[in-house]
Amino acid sequence: MNRVILHSDLNNFYASVECLYNPEIRDRPVAVCGSQSTRHGIVLAKNNLAKKFGVKAGDAIWEARSKCPGLVVVRPNYMLYLRFSMLARKIYENYTNLIEAFGIDENWLDVTESTKLFGSGENIADMLRERIRTELGVTASVGVSFNKVFAKLGSDMKKPDATTVISEENYREKVWKLPVGDMIYVGPSTRRKLTNIGIQTIGELAGAPPKFLERHFGQWGRTLWIFANGYDESPVTKLDFQPGIKGIGNSLTTPHDLRTNEDVKILTYVLADSVAERLRRHQLRGRTVQIYIRSSDLSFIERQGQLSQYTCTSSDIAEKALEIFSRSWDWSKTIRTLGIRVTGVVMRDDCAQVSLFDDNRRLRREQLESSIDSIRTRFGHYSVQRGLLIDSRGLNANPVEENVIHPVSFFK
């Protein structure tokens, strides 16, 4: 029996939530943008009115404003979007336990078994849309197909608030005429290469000999061919499947370029505080510290080092990061973005190798930092600060809340 896969995409997600909460801007072109003053000033999402003026995700704010003079620019509220994302997921859970998130606003659902209870895939898609509209006040486009790749294509074909069915009978007419760049994992670079070998549409990709594609793209060429022909069999990952956390990291692009070791020290402590807090929240400790430095010309390096002990305290992480930094950076360029990541993580209670000479200091530091977490939970992030950061308001930040990252992966 063929699988029945849905792909649900919340339309213009951030902008839709903002328009729901601010009725006065609903009839105007709206763009949700990062903060201009901290140089994250790009369009993250836009509503349909702004789209008509050609405003695109990734545009700089000035660029978007020049395309659309009356544009309403609003700051993102990630916590609110996460709540809506979870509410949408709760609706999906009424129909299947096979749900796989792809970013904050997209999900695949395998409803093959649920069709016996709720009717066809198209029926279920319509029910989902109706519930998302009335219960959440936003809209979704849903693609229905027999594999994940076509289901995703379907959800892109008709927007907003629409169901598109791509069946075994109609996929040749519906999918094959589309430009190859519409297919998942065909980015600008792959698309260019495909154009160079004479492939413009998904149908042309499907019709090309797999051996020929392999010659140009290696193993990846065959995967693309499988996608284009609807042979993709990758499963929708189970609801209760939680991929293990491999590491925790944060990075920040600063309001002005970093020029001195002192600047780097301040930012390192901000980032280490955030990474350590998140490690503790997930009951983890890690042993490898990685730093990521992007310079003002946008080139970047990554370096890493090992700690002698598993840790979840910011002082250990920051000291190691600064040590790696001092031997990796010669200040021939200024720094635009700095990131810290801790990998090689284990659960906090697992039997980690302890140092023979371990004293109480480590334990006390952990307790101190956990107390700071509790104070910040009750009174806000900025209620307790390092002395080092007091004079550096420009570099100080709360990456835990202000820098939520949503990793996505197709292949599980």
Binding site: L20, Y21, P23, R83, L87, T134, L136, G137
Partner: protein, 78 residues
């Protein structure tokens, strides 16, 4: 229409439900909620919000009351 947060006196039931009993209007007047006739998750397009929506009968008239996370709000014509 605007979104107005209001004070509510509610009963917490044994199975974890919440039933609003009294509502305090912006002007300070308090009304008894005679009956809750419907409870469902819903968005309020008019006020701009989303949560559990309680359809309440107050003095023979029906009105909607939302519980959005831990705050109650109503649509106000003001």
């Amino acid at each position: 229409m605007s979104k107005v947060f209001v004070e509510v006196i509610a009963k917490f039931t044994k199975d974890g439900g919440k039933v609003p009993l009294k509502i305090k209007w912006q002007d300070g007047r308090t009304f008894d909620i005679d009956k809750v006739t419907d409870v469902r998750r819903a968005a309020s397009l008019k006020a701009g919000g989303q949560g559990m929506r309680y359809r309440c009968r107050i003095n023979g008239k029906e009105t909607y009351l939302w519980l959005e996370e831990d705050k109650w709000f109503v649509n106000s014509r003001g």
